[in-house]
C-alpha cells in the first residue's frame, strides 16, 4: 500500500499552495486530483484578489469590510488573520512570477470591487485566477511534488478511533481502485456549483470533498449560504466578472433604467453581491427583464477600455451569447456561484475529525460568513492554503500511520461495479441530475419561501430512491466518465440535502440567504453557524448549531447593512 505523510485532495489554488508548504517543511506530500492541476476551476476566476497593499488602505479596513460583507456571521479570528496575511501572500505570488497588471512605477494595479471601501482588488487583466493557477503549478513542477493526476478520491478512510487513515482513489485513466495511506488528509476540492441548474461553475465542481467528509463523520457548516452572482450569462450561466462593474459597467433593465439607484443609492452596481442579485431578481419578477434576464451595459466605457481591461469578457459574450459588449448590453441574471459553506474548520484549517483538514472553497473557516466579498475567495485559497499546509506539516510530525482496512478498497470497487452493472430501469443519470438541480434553483434560489423549501425536502427521498436505479451506458474500466459522473451525482444529492435543510431551519434573512417569510436578520437567535452531520442510521442529514467566533471589538458589532 502506498503511503505519504500528507495527502492533499485537489490541485486548485488552495491545494497547490498547501503542497508547497509541505515541501518546505520537508514532509512527504502528494496531491490527488481528478483533473490536471491546470484544469482546476480556480483558472476561471476573472476579477481579482484583495489585499491592502496600498499605503492609504489598511488591513483593518479590509477586515471590517469582510466582517460586514459576511453579514456578521464570519469568524472574526479567521477574518483578521486572512486580511493581515493578505499583502504578504500577494507579494509572494508576485515573486513566484505571477504577471499581475501594473501601474506606473511598477506597483501592482488594483481595481474597485463590490462591498469594499477601497480599490483593493489586485488583478491580471480579467484572468487573475488563470495566472495565479499557472504560477503555482510552475512552482509545483519546480518542487517536484508527486501528483496523482486524473485520479478521483472516492472515500475517506478512518480507523477504529475515528482518526484519518487515508483515502481510496480511482484512477480515471485505467479504472484501477487503490489505497493511499496518510497521517493527514487535506481537502481542497473546491465548490459544488453543480447542485444548481444555472451556475457559473465547471462541470467538475461537484463538492466531492465536502460530501466525502460528511460521510466520514466531519460536520459541514453554513451550507444554506450559497452565493448567487449578479452577472451570469443568460443562457449558460457562465460568469461575467464583477470587475466589469468595477471598471464602470452599468446594470440596466428592459426600460434602460439603472435600477440599482433604487436598491443601493450609494454604492449602486458595486453594492454587495447578495444585494445586487436580489435587486436583479426583483426587477425580473416584476416584469422589467427580458427572457428572464436584465443587462450589463459596458458600451459607455468605449472599445479601448473594454479591449484592454476586459478582453476575455468581450470574447465570452461573443462566443456564448452572440453579443458584442462594445455595441450592445449583455443579458445576465443571478446565477449560483460560490459556496460559503463547507467542511467546518478552525482558523488553521483543522476539522473536528482527527487528521482531516480543509482549505479553499471546500472549507468553511469561516471568512465569508453569509456572503463572500468578490476577490476574497482567491485570497482565502492562497492564505489558508499556506496556513493549513504548514499546520498539517506540524501535525503529521507527531502522528503515525493508522490502520487501513483492506475492505475499504473492496467496498469502493463493489459500489462502482454495482453502478456499472445495474439493469436499465429508465433512469438516466443526466435526467436525474437535471431534476435535482432544477428543484434546487426553484426552491433554494435567490429568494426562498417556506413552502418551496418544504417541497424541496420532500423531494429528497424520491431522488435518493431513483439514484439507486440509475443506469450507465459505459461499462468499460478505462476513462469511464459516465461512471465518475454517477458517483458525483451521489455527492451532489447529499449536499443539496444539507443546503435545503439548513435553509429551511434558518428562520431569518442574512447575507445570501433571503426568506420571504422572515425578511429580517435575527441576531438574537440566529447569529450562529449551522452544522450538518450525516446520520447513518436514519440515512439523512441532521443539523446542530455553533456560536460564531467573535473578538468583541466594537467596530464588528452587528449593524444594519446598507451600501
Amino acid at each position: 500500500m502506498q503511503s505519504h505523510d500528507l495527502i492533499i485532495v485537489g490541485a486548485g489554488l488552495a491545494g497547490m499552495r498547501a503542497a508547497l508548504e509541505g515541501v518546505k517543511a520537508g514532509i512527504d506530500v502528494a496531491i490527488v486530483t481528478k483533473i490536471h492541476p491546470l484544469r482546476s476551476h480556480s483558472c476561471a476566476a476573472q476579477g481579482g484578489i484583495n489585499a491592502a497593499i496600498n499605503p492609504q488602505d489598511s488591513r483593518d479596513s479590509h477586515a471590517f469590510d469582510t466582517v460586514k460583507g459576511a453579514d456578521y456571521i464570519g469568524d472574526e479570528d479567521a477574518i483578521e488573520l486572512m486580511c493581515h496575511e493578505a499583502p504578504e501572500a500577494i507579494l509572494e505570488m508576485d515573486r513566484m512570477g505571477t504577471p499581475f497588471s501594473r501601474i506606473e512605477g511598477g506597483l501592482i494595479a488594483q481595481r474597485a470591487f463590490g462591498g469594499a471601501s477601497f480599490n483593493r482588488t489586485c488583478y491580471a487583466a480579467d484572468r487573475t485566477g488563470q495566472v495565479l493557477l499557472h504560477t503555482l503549478w510552475e512552482q509545483l513542477v519546480k518542487a517536484q511534488v508527486k501528483v496523482y493526476e486524473e485520479c478521483s478520491v472516492m472515500r475517506l478512510v478512518t480507523d477504529r478511533e475515528q482518526a484519518i487513515a487515508g483515502v481510496v482513489a480511482y484512477d480515471i485513466k485505467t479504472g484501477a481502485v487503490f489505497a493511499l495511506r496518510a497521517k493527514a488528509v487535506l481537502m481542497a476540492t473546491g465548490g459544488y456549483g453543480r447542485v444548481f441548474l444555472s451556475n457559473t461553475n465547471a462541470t467538475t465542481n461537484t463538492g466531492d470533498g465536502m460530501a466525502l467528509a460528511l460521510r466520514a463523520g466531519a460536520p459541514l457548516a453554513d451550507m444554506e449560504f450559497v452565493q448567487f452572482h449578479p452577472t451570469g450569462l443568460r443562457t449558460s450561466g457562465v460568469l461575467v466578472t464583477e470587475g466589469a462593474r468595477g471598471e464602470g459597467g452599468y446594470l440596466i433593465n428592459a426600460l434602460g433604467e439603472r435600477f440599482m439607484s433604487r436598491y443601493a443609492p450609494n454604492k449602486l452596481e458595486l453594492a454587495s453581491r447578495d444585494v445586487v442579485s436580489r435587486a436583479e431578481q426583483t426587477e425580473i419578477i416584476e416584469g422589467r427583464g427580458i427572457n428572464g434576464a436584465v443587462f450589463l451595459d459596458l458600451r459607455h466605457l468605449g472599445a479601448d477600455k473594454i479591449l484592454e481591461r476586459l478582453p476575455q469578457i468581450r470574447q465570452l459574450s461573443l462566443d456564448l451569447e452572440g453579443v458584442d459588449a462594445i455595441h450592445a448590453p449583455i443579458p445576465i441574471r443571478p446565477t449560483a456561484h460560490y459556496s460559503m459553506g463547507g467542511i467546518r474548520t478552525d482558523k488553521y484549517g483543522a476539522s473536528p475529525l482527527h487528521g482531516l483538514f480543509a482549505a479553499g472553497e471546500a472549507a468553511c473557516v469561516s471568512v465569508h460568513g453569509a456572503n463572500r466579498l468578490g476577490g476574497n475567495s482567491l485570497l482565502d485559497t492562497i492564505v489558508f492554503g499556506r496556513i493549513t499546509g504548514s499546520h498539517c506539516a506540524r501535525f503529521v510530525k507527531g502522528e503515525k500511520l493508522r490502520d487501513f482496512a483492506a475492505s475499504e478498497v473492496a467496498a469502493v470497487k463493489g459500489n462502482l461495479d454495482t453502478l456499472k452493472s445495474r439493469p436499465d430501469q429508465g433512469v438516466r443519470p443526466i435526467a436525474l441530475h437535471h431534476r435535482m438541480a432544477a428543484a434546487m434553483n426553484l426552491h433554494c434560489g435567490v429568494f426562498r419561501t417556506v413552502e418551496g423549501m418544504r417541497e424541496g425536502v420532500s423531494e429528497l427521498p424520491g431522488l435518493r430512491e431513483d439514484y439507486q436505479k440509475i443506469h450507465l451506458d459505459d461499462h468499460a474500466d478505462d476513462f469511464n466518465i459516465d461512471l465518475l459522473r454517477a458517483v458525483e451525482l451521489g455527492h451532489l444529492i447529499d449536499l443539496a440535502e444539507c443546503i435545503v435543510r439548513g435553509a429551511l431551519a434558518r428562520e431569518e434573512s442574512r447575507g445570501a440567504h433571503s426568506r420571504i417569510d422572515f425578511p429580517e436578520r435575527d441576531d438574537a437567535v440566529w447569529r450562529k453557524h449551522t452544522l450538518s452531520h450525516w446520520d447513518g442510521a436514519k440515512g439523512e442529514v441532521i443539523l446542530s448549531h455553533e456560536p460564531v467566533r467573535t473578538l468583541g471589538r466594537a467596530e464588528y458589532a452587528p449593524k444594519v447593512r446598507t451600501y
Binding site: L38, M96, S101, G106, Q130, V131, K173, A202, L472
Partner: protein, 328 residues
Amino acid sequence: MSAKHYTFRIQRNRKGPDGRIASRWVDYPVSATETTTILTLLEEIKGDQDGSLTFRQSCRSAICGSCAMKIGGRTRLACKTHVGSVANADGVVVVAPQANQPVLKDLAIDIGPFFERIHKIQPHLEDGPDTDAVLEQSAYDQVNHVTQCIMCGSCYSDCVMAEVTPEFIGPAALAKAFRFVSDPREGQKRRRLEQLSHPHMMWSCARCAMCVESCPKDVKPMEAIVKLRTRGLAKGLDAGPGPKHALAFHQDIQQTGNLNEFTLMMRTVGILGTLEELGTAFHLMKKWKIPSPLPHKSAGLAELAKIYEILEEHPLDVETKAKEVVPE
C-alpha cells in the same frame, strides 16, 4: 434564431485487448441553433443518446484547456466553437481527437507527452544572474500574449513539424519558454537560450504559422519562437544549422538582395551535410529546379541598405501578421 438539423460524425476510439486503438465513425443527429457550442451538443449526445461517449471538459468557458479536439479538420476548443461555423453544407460536423498524440478513448487523448514537453523547458522562474530589478508594465506587455496560454494543446495538435518530427518540442513549450526569457525576474535567460538552441528546439520550427491560427487564446506561439531566435542570435548563440541558415539568408539579402540557394545549403549544413543531400540535388536537377550558382544582384540595393540601416538603429521585435482570431 431557429433550430437546424446537424449530424455529428464522431470518431469513436476504443482500446482493444491488445492495447491497440480501434476507430469507427458514428453519426449522431442533433438539432440546435447555429450559435450553440460544440461542447453543449456533445453533452447532449452523451446525456440523451450514448452515455459512453468520452471527452474531457470542465470550465465551459475557454479557460481550463480541457476540451481541445479536432472539429471540422482543425483543432478547436469545443466550448467556444459554434456549430454553425464548422458544419459543412450538408450540416455534417466532423469531430475527432487531437492529432500528434496517443488516443486513450473516443475524443480523449493521453495528455502526458504534451506536458512532458512543457516540463522540458523548466516551466518556472529561476534565480540567477540575469534578474532585473524593476518591474514595469511594459515588461509584461511583451509577454502578455504568451501568459494567455491555457495549455490546451491545440497548437501541438495542428503543428506540421510535430507531425513529421515527434522529437520537436512544439509551439506551446516554446511560447512558455519565451515567457520566462522575457520576464525581468528571470535569472537564467542565457542558459535558457542555450538550451533552446539545441536540436528539436526553437530552430526546428518551420514558421508555417499554423499554431498562430489554431490558438484559441491568441498566444501567437510562432511569434514567440521568432523572438526567441532573435534573442539567441543577439547573445551570440549561432552554432548549428538553424542559426547558420538564418545568418546566411541574412547575408545574401543584405549583400545582393537575392538568395543564393545554390550555396545556402553548404553554408547551413556544411560540406558533409550537403553531400548527404546530393540525391535530392540530382532529383531537382532532372526537373530543372536547381538554382543558378552565380550570385546576381537586385536593383534597388541602395534602398535595401537604407532599410537595414533603419532596422539596426531601431531593432524591432517581429510582429507576424497573424490573422486576427475572429470569434466563431
